[in-house]
């Protein structure tokens, strides 16, 4: 993320805004609702509040205009339909928000979605400059998408919090506000170096290793020393979070992601057609309501599915669960306990995560050869 030069910001947390006019493209109620929702994106993650004010005393003025549209110095004219859809001034210059009236403003994804553009412009009004991350709300390009799925990227959250700090609720008892925003407060404070940390799922993906927990994932790349933290929804908007298990079949360039009784196949971040499918279609019995962990063994071309104290072995070539399964985890993986939270094959070794520990397991000799903290991958 980037802030404007000298990082100007509003000196107070309770801000007011006013719509100077309305676009004829949409009913007034829809415009007001879109604007309210756009402010909420930012108030959910900061101590800021936004109230509709009246008269000229409002802090932030919102205007629909075409071509040359204001008397404000250095306010460039709009360019007609398409092209530039809006612009806004930094807090140092009044935070004005201007939306190009020549666009076809809508409340859905057909024309130019007002909520989406307003949320971006409000980011500028609050002090954020453009981000280079294409998934970030503050990326300059307007990418048409389902407005219901427009969310702040972690980069946006970090940017705005660098100016105003986190929401006050995040500093309190850690209870979620119930918002669908990715900034669920309990999750924001996930500390990767907490010695008690456990993971929901771990997998390889195109040479990287992904660690999933709640709504986050951490990417460990062999080429980079830093660990990248992302919202899962930034890659797979339909999944959001709460992933139970994941595994990659490298030779098919496919990642399988499990959540409850469903699973998805994805190539990179593109969910494949026909998914989600039921885990029971794989041959997992109906009594199983979720998969705790999954790992593909490149040597045998078999996938292990762990659930509760049992596990199954799935033949990826012939697509069936082998006859002798389920097996008992405690019996076939002695030394790791009876449940597995996450599993990974890395450099030919099998790593089974259980709570805050990970067990390196020698499949041939059927014994644990090393025990480490689950977060040993991060150089904590």
């Amino acid at each position: 993320f980037k802030t404007f030069p000298l990082s100007p910001k509003w000196p107070k947390k309770d801000l007011t805004y006013r719509l100077q006019n309305y676009t004829p493209d949409m009913p007034r109620a829809d415009i007001e609702e879109a604007i309210r929702r756009a402010w909420t994106m930012w108030s959910d993650v900061t101590p800021l509040t936004f109230t509709e004010g009246s008269g000229d005393s409002a802090d932030i003025l919102i205007l629909f205009g075409a071509g040359v549209h204001s008397m404000i110095p250095f306010d460039p004219p709009f360019d007609g339909p398409n092209g530039e859809v809006g612009h806004a001034f930094s807090p140092a210059h009044g935070g004005y928000v201007h939306l190009d009236e020549d666009e076809d403003w809508t409340k859905d994804a057909k024309g130019t979605n007002l909520f989406h553009v307003a949320a971006h412009e409000f980011g500028h009004s609050l002090g954020l400059d453009h981000s280079k991350i294409p998934e970030a709300l503050m990326f300059p390009k307007y990418i048409r998408s389902d407005p219901a799925k427009v969310r702040l990227h972690q980069d946006d959250v970090e940017g705005i919090q660098s100016l105003y700090g986190p929401s006050e609720e995040a500093n309190g008892d850690g209870q979620s506000s119930g918002s669908e925003s990715p900034t669920n407060l309990t999750e924001q404070v996930v500390d990767l170096c907490n010695p008690h940390i456990s993971f929901d799922a771990v997998t390889s993906l195109r040479g990287e290793t992904l660690f999933f927990k709640e709504r986050f994932m951490w990417r460990k790349s062999p080429a980079q020393s830093n660990i990248e933290k992302d919202f899962i929804s930034a890659f797979w908007p339909t999944l959001d979070g709460g992933i139970d298990a994941a595994y990659e079949v490298e030779n098919k360039d496919t990642l399988f992601i499990f959540k409850g009784e469903q699973y998805w196949a994805t190539k990179g971040n593109i969910i494949q057609p026909g998914y989600p499918k039921s885990i029971h279609a794989l041959g997992i019995p109906h009594i199983v309501k979720k998969i705790d962990a999954a790992v593909y063994d490149k040597n045998t071309k078999k996938t292990l599915f762990f659930s509760s104290d049992k596990y199954w072995r799935y033949d990826e070539t012939r697509n069936y669960i082998e006859r002798r399964y389920p097996g008992k985890i405690a019996a076939d993986f002695p030394g790791i306990g009876s449940t597995v939270d996450a599993a990974l094959q890395h450099n030919g070794h099998l790593y089974l995560f259980s709570g805050s520990k990970q067990y390196e397991f020698d499949s041939k000799r059927r014994r644990v050869i090393n025990v480490k903290k689950s977060n040993s991958w991060f150089g904590c």
Partner: protein
């Protein structure tokens, strides 16, 4: 048939669009010596900046993917501070 280099496929209209785009969103930064470019030329440095910002292949040339990005709807705030 041999494929023409992409730069030769750029129309005068595209060239104008690109110049306007770069002037609007990649303005001269304070302290940068202003080197005037000919009307029919694109400032390759600015173009590189833009390509880098959008994660495109940084060539300094006005290729098809760069033009496509330039034609997409966007916010009017410059990508680099002027």
């Amino acid at each position: 048939l041999p494929i023409l280099p992409q730069t030769e496929e750029v129309t005068a209209e595209d060239m104008q669009l690109a110049q306007k785009y770069l002037n609007s969103y990649y303005p001269e930064q304070e302290g940068t010596p202003v080197i005037r470019t000919r009307q029919d030329k694109i400032d390759a440095n600015k173009l590189r900046q833009m390509q880098e910002f959008f994660g495109l292949k940084v060539t300094g040339k006005l290729d098809a993917s760069t033009l496509e990005e330039m034609k997409a709807p966007r916010c009017g705030v410059p990508d680099i501070a002027g």
